[in-house]
């Protein structure tokens, strides 16, 4: 936690990277997200925690532009709610979707290559690829394997690697630890912090509330589509209400 904040200070902590104002999402006549506002500063890790169905994934999908929504989303001060998802990715927001979303019929390498759709800088892409393979040596070994046959942990790594290939400034992670073995969960969190250290901001959605809050500089707690608590990661981790709900 301390190490995180130090790094954040060095990268202009006050810059607002993403600002969400009064976000609303509805499915049919159910309002899954009921007016949510929060912000992410450059270089931060922000955790979004909440029970099943609280609306976490809906928020991420809305930001990525694949769900229609009400309200405003500003990225680096620019409103993005009218942009299509392709344009949003081009601006630098990438998502690791819930359930990983690996393209089963594409090989590992093709999965990675697809994420560079918006990029024309060949040389940088190659460098990027090398960097990603350094982060995940496991993927380097499996470049030609079909995505669909990877194990859960491998797929999760691929999903993160793929998001990195878009050269995002902000990474939206939807339950990256779901279904992973404890060791891999540690591994993934370690890698996420490494990624953050290189300047990428993270919005982390997790069931695994305590772990996420401890990794994050700030956090928001969501209940049925509303933010009910927010504060620094540590504050929230120790908050009685969180303890009650998430420690059982």
């Amino acid at each position: 936690m301390t190490s995180n904040s130090q790094i954040n200070k060095s990268t202009r902590l006050t810059d607002i990277l993403l600002e969400v104002r009064d976000l609303r999402v509805r499915y049919g006549h159910i309002e899954a997200v009921q007016g949510i506002s929060f912000k992410i500063l450059a270089g931060e890790i922000v955790a979004l925690v909440g029970a099943n169905g609280a609306g976490k994934s809906s928020i991420l999908r809305a930001i990525s532009g694949i769900l229609p929504f009400g309200g405003e989303v500003l990225f680096e001060g620019q409103p993005i709610q009218r942009l299509g998802s392709a344009a949003i990715v081009a601006l630098g927001i990438a998502q690791v979707p819930e359930g990983r979303g690996i393209f089963g019929t594409l090989t590992v390498k093709e999965n990675l290559r697809l994420a560079t759709w918006n990029r024309r800088d060949r040389r940088a892409i190659t460098a990027n690829l090398r960097h990603v393979f350094d982060l995940f040596p496991r993927l380097a070994e499996r470049q030609r394997q079909l995505g669909g046959t990877l194990s859960g942990g491998e797929q999760q790594m691929l999903a993160i690697a793929r998001a990195l290939m878009t050269r995002a400034k902000l990474l939206l992670l939807d339950e990256p630890s779901m279904g992973l073995a404890p060791m891999l969960v540690h591994e993934i969190f370690r890698i996420l912090k490494d990624i953050n250290r290189t300047g990428t901001s993270l919005l982390l959605v997790e069931q695994n509330a305590l772990m996420a809050l401890k990794a994050a500089s700030r956090g928001y707690v969501l209940e049925t589509g509303r933010i009910v608590l927010h504060g620094t990661g540590r504050e929230l981790a120790d908050h009685p209400r969180v303890k009650e709900a998430y420690l059982g």
Binding site: N4, N52, S151, G179, P182, M183, H186, A209, E244, A245
Partner: protein, 267 residues
Amino acid sequence: MKPWFQANNVGHHFGGLSAISGFNLELRSGELVGLIGPNGAGKTTVFNLITGVYRAAEGSIRFQGRELTGLTPWIISGLGIARTFQNIRIFKQLSVLDNVRIAHYRRTHYSLAEALLHLGRYRREERRLTRAAMEILRLLHLESYADETADSLPYGLQRRLEIGRALATGASLLLLDEPAAGMNPSEVGQLMEFIGWIRGQFNLTILLIEHQMRLVTGICERVLVLDFGVTIAEGRPNEIQNNPQVLEAYLGQAEDGGQMTDDGRQT
């Protein structure tokens, strides 16, 4: 006396990849056993082999004295083995009640002709079936959803419905594949109670796969650890937790039984 359930030297591979090899497992009636291991270790494959989704390339699986390898899934299901899936696979567009009624499939005693013409046993059987299905829904506190389509249920209830559906097959051996996936710790606590309760209520033997160690250590009597398709350890939960091999392959160094490792300090 032969063991109640026995998997003997089972092996299976996909293409060149050996997903499971030399796998042995014995279950006594009434046990609750955990199956853990890193991702891709072959746990789900074990389930698929037992239930006949895949046909084991080597070895034998015997259940109540009967050889299972080579039988089709529906026959195996009829012998009393049921399972849930890692990704929920309920019948989404059917009603909750129908989901459970389908699971009674093998235990309906009327012929096709009787069904088509509404003759003889049809009415009686159909009533019995509906009553039995409603009973299971009642036990799982799902009866108020009976008429809703299954995909309109919240996630947690869908998991519960899937377990209910498995119970309705009349199984004596229940295989649960990551029942706690996507649940937060307080929900996991409820799930643990629930599993214990159905085990008593339905007289079940349970084999479960799980990554959330709290659940495994909390309710399993015995744990089997797989890595790369091979069993690397077997024993009581507390033994497993201190097994160096398991620590290295699965749990990682700083293991505290739960999953709330304090990562902040590690960096």
